[in-house]
């Protein structure tokens, strides 16, 4: 069939119309803002806060903690949360030394005022890894560092040495994602991946109102299995050495340090998981805190219940975040409200 330029223009108009209709339609049904990532934390760090909280994707809960803290202190105390998707202590420590340090220090290496407190939110998972060669780079073990932590210079250096690889493409992909973060289609694409895993699950949840019982149960069983066997991989050498470096940084700069053992969904932890993974991990961290003079707050099971978590059984849902922030500031974290009185932290 012969085409004319007129038919090409009409065809293009049809395509543009359909895409605009899809974009507008999706805005009606899905208007969630993009999730906080490292980049958002870096932007916020243009203004030095009182407290810097570094964490895995659970850092989004720390963001809510910061909002609650600012409200209770009449905006006199600021907390900046930096959330690194997929976590791991080594990756978070890399972030501190390679991206955050330059933003919280002056040229002489002194920490900028009014920063006085460092928080580090972790779970047992953040210290878990298969045995890896000590010679491999942080990036080789942690694509999340490449995706969210790298600067353009990191990418350029890697590209010049290794060319375009599956690993360094993570950086490029994430840059594109940010460039199109205003598009509802793109936001939806990532929301489907992050919240539902795959497109069919999204359709099922949208139509049926949730995943079939068998699949939710299957996910719970996988979590049980993961935590039950967590003791085989936790407290890895690489991550504990990274924790040492994290602590050393805080001490060197006279920053008060709190390590928060972040809440987990209670029904993902079986009696076996509790005994073999959660309790030994907590005990080890308390011992570590004692030996290194670091405050450890164990919130693993104390403040939230099953209803406070998302469908992924891992992250805290929005009402849960508020509940956690209020309870924490009312209890073990109440000292943060007095952070401007320097002697409180000593």
């Amino acid at each position: 069939m012969k085409n004319s330029w007129r038919s090409i223009w009409l065809l293009t108009a049809g395509i543009v119309f359909a895409l605009l209709a899809a974009e507008i339609g999706l805005r009606q049904i899905h208007n969630e803002p993009a999730k906080l990532q490292v980049m958002d934390g870096l932007k916020e760090l243009q203004v030095t806060p009182n407290i810097l909280a570094v964490s895995s994707s659970h850092g989004r809960s720390f963001h809510v903690l910061g909002q609650e803290l600012a409200r209770l202190s009449d905006q006199s105390i600021n907390l900046t949360a930096v959330a690194l998707e997929s976590g791991k202590v080594e990756a978070m420590e890399w972030l501190l030394h390679h991206r955050l340090k330059s933003l919280i220090q002056d040229d002489s290496g002194k920490v900028l005022e009014p920063l006085s407190h460092l928080m580090f939110g972790i779970t047992w998972w953040d210290t878990c890894r298969e045995e890896t060669s000590s010679e491999t780079t942080v990036a080789a073990n942690a694509p999340n560092v490449v995706t969210h932590g790298w600067s353009i210079t990191d990418y350029r250096n890697d590209f010049l040495s290794n060319g375009s690889t599956d690993l360094n493409r993570n950086f490029v992909r994430n840059r594109w994602r940010q460039a199109f973060s205003e598009s509802a289609l793109v936001r939806m694409r990532f929301a489907i991946k992050e919240n539902f895993g795959r497109f069919t699950n999204f359709i099922r949840v949208s139509v049926l109102g949730g995943l079939p019982e068998s699949e939710s149960q299957g996910l719970l069983v996988r979590w049980h299995d993961t935590i039950d066997n967590g003791h085989e991989c936790f407290l890895s050498d690489r991550d504990m050495q990274a924790l040492d470096r994290f602590v050393a940084f805080a001490k060197q700069h006279e920053l008060d340090l709190t390590i928060v053992l972040f809440p987990l969904k209670p029904d993902t932890i079986t009696a076996v998981g509790l005994k073999k993974t959660i309790e030994p991990f907590t005990e080890h961290l308390f011992e570590y805190g004692e030996n290194n003079d670091v405050r450890i707050l164990d919130m693993t099971l104390s403040l939230l219940d099953d209803n406070d978590f998302m469908l992924d059984l891992d992250h805290v849902n929005p009402p849960g975040n508020i509940k956690w922030a209020k309870a924490a500031l009312d209890g073990e974290m109440s000292f943060l409200l007095d952070i401007n009185k320097k002697d409180v932290l000593k």
Partner: protein, 483 residues
């Protein structure tokens, strides 16, 4: 950069604009395309650009030596040797050095010897198997005086490295592509619409159908064949046939679509292969450009030469498919796959000779061959054989292939693959593509093509929106790019 990377969606329109807004002369158009091609290739691994540049300059120079030494066959042969040694030498070095070293070390160990050869871990240059064959084909054509050497180095460089085909073909003959590059091109509505349509259809096949089949069925079955029941293993390998078709036919369509946007026509690479009723027909429909290369430059010269190989057709087939297996990868699994194809082709050829003999004696055999039941049995045997031979092709090693074959007959595994709605949709898409040329489906295609342009645009737009939402995140790599 790859066709499915998001940066390609910006790279392509940018090159398109630069190409068409400039003066419509050959030198400008080819310069833009060549520059873009080197960026495309260099984005993979910029240091390896030197390899493709060296090969291009060497072959350009040698092809002109062929013309200069018109009557001096001895020197022409020497120059051909230099060219082939460089092209095939680099291909072997990058692709097979590791395989030969590992195999040699295994052999030495089997003999009880301690010595071992160093195993080099090399980065495989993007598309080396494709552009090497295209260049070798050009050099042989020049040597045999089938084509004249390219006069312009610019044209020849583009012929070797055109970004539309450098990563994974289709492998063009010099007589197809060079004449197109040697004259100025003009954009017409047909080039634009057919290019965009081919690209979108290719992307759908590759990123949607191929990925869902791979993720939901193939990867599971082949990762632990001992755990799945027999039916699941049959489903797994059949799904692999559909996946590899979607992946590569999809890629080829994207390449053809890309080239059309610059008013260049690349050869067809797939022609509904699952409709084939014999193995030779299948190999005329599947990866067409590789197979015709193998027949043009290995089979035909070998079996029509004056030497010992003359008319030894079975041996020719054996060599062609052994080469095909080796071309696909440096592993024993690919060699086994090639040998199985060779066996199938030899059996078919001899059956054909036998049957033709029967036909000459009794015309009823001619009628039988034209009947539907004969056609159906031929089709079923062809496709089943092809699918079965994909087991070693996909398996990580010979041991896994053995477990897979045994499991297909009788598996103790209890796991069962379930076909997800997306996989089913992918299978429907592949079937629809095959049936589109058959009655009555061809009428539906024509009906859609004659619908108002705006309406067709809306359908395409919605297809793009669905692809944005549904295409899996793992869809960035092509199976055939690794060969």
């Amino acid at each position: 950069m790859s066709f499915t990377n998001v940066e390609f969606l910006f790279f392509l329109p940018l090159v398109f604009l630069l190409y068409w807004i400039g003066p419509g002369v050959r030198s400008y158009q080819n310069t833009v395309l060549l520059f873009a091609s080197y960026i495309f290739f260099g984005s993979w691994h910029w240091q390896l650009l030197l390899l493709i540049l060296a090969g291009t300059w060497l072959d350009y120079f040698i092809s002109h030596q062929f013309a200069r030494l018109d009557d001096d066959n001895r020197h022409r042969k020497r120059w051909l040797f230099v060219s082939l040694a460089f092209s095939l030498g680099t291909l072997c070095f990058f692709k097979y050095a590791g395989f030969f070293a590992v195999s040699a070390n295994e052999g030495l160990r089997a003999l009880g010897l301690e010595q071992s050869l160093p195993v080099l871990k090399l980065i495989l240059p993007l598309g080396i198997s494709y552009w090497t064959l295209q260049r070798v084909g050009y050099m042989l054509d020049c040597y045999w005086r089938r084509v004249s050497p390219a006069e312009s180095l610019l044209d020849f460089s583009l012929f070797v490295c055109f970004f539309g085909q450098v990563a994974a073909g289709p492998i063009s003959r010099a007589s197809e592509l060079l004449p197109q590059l040697q004259k100025a091109r003009k954009l017409t509505p047909d080039w634009l619409s057919s290019g965009c349509f081919a690209f979108l259809l290719g992307y759908t096949l590759k990123a949607f159908a191929g990925e869902f089949l791979g993720e939901n069925l193939v990867a599971k079955a082949f990762s632990a064949p001992g755990d799945y029941n027999s039916l699941s293993l049959w489903i797994g390998v059949a799904a692999f046939a559909a996946q590899v078709f979607s992946d590569f036919a999809g890629y080829s369509l994207m390449a053809i679509g890309t080239a059309r946007l610059f008013a260049v026509e690349l050869p067809q690479n797939f022609n509904n292969p699952f409709l084939s009723k014999s193995l030779p027909e299948l190999w005329r429909r599947w990866h067409i450009t590789l197979n015709r290369w193998l027949f043009d430059y290995i089979f035909t010269p070998m079996t029509t030469s004056k030497g010992w190989f003359r008319n030894r057709l079975d041996l020719g087939l054996f060599c062609v498919f052994l080469a095909s297996g080796l071309w696909h990868g440096a592993a024993w699994t690919f060699i086994l796959w090639g040998l199985l194809q060779a066996l199938g082709m030899i059996v078919h050829r001899n059956w054909d000779v036998l049957y033709r003999g029967w036909c000459r004696k009794n015309r009823a055999f001619v009628t039988l061959r034209k009947s539907s039941p004969y056609g159906f049995v031929s089709w079923a045997l062809t496709i089943t054989f092809f699918i079965l031979t994909l087991v070693p092709f996909r398996s990580a090693d010979m041991e896994t292939a053995g477990i897979y074959y045994r499991g297909m007959l009788n598996s103790a595994g209890e796991l069962a693959l379930s076909i997800s709605p997306m996989s089913l949709l992918a299978i429907i898409l592949i079937c629809a593509l095959h049936f589109a040329e058959l009655r009555p489906f061809d009428r539906m295609v024509r009906l859609f093509q004659s619908a108002p342009a705006v309406l067709r645009g809306v359908v395409y737009g919605l297809a793009v929106a669905i692809l944005v939402l549904a295409v899996p995140f793992s869809s960035g790599t092509f199976i055939y790019q690794q060969f």
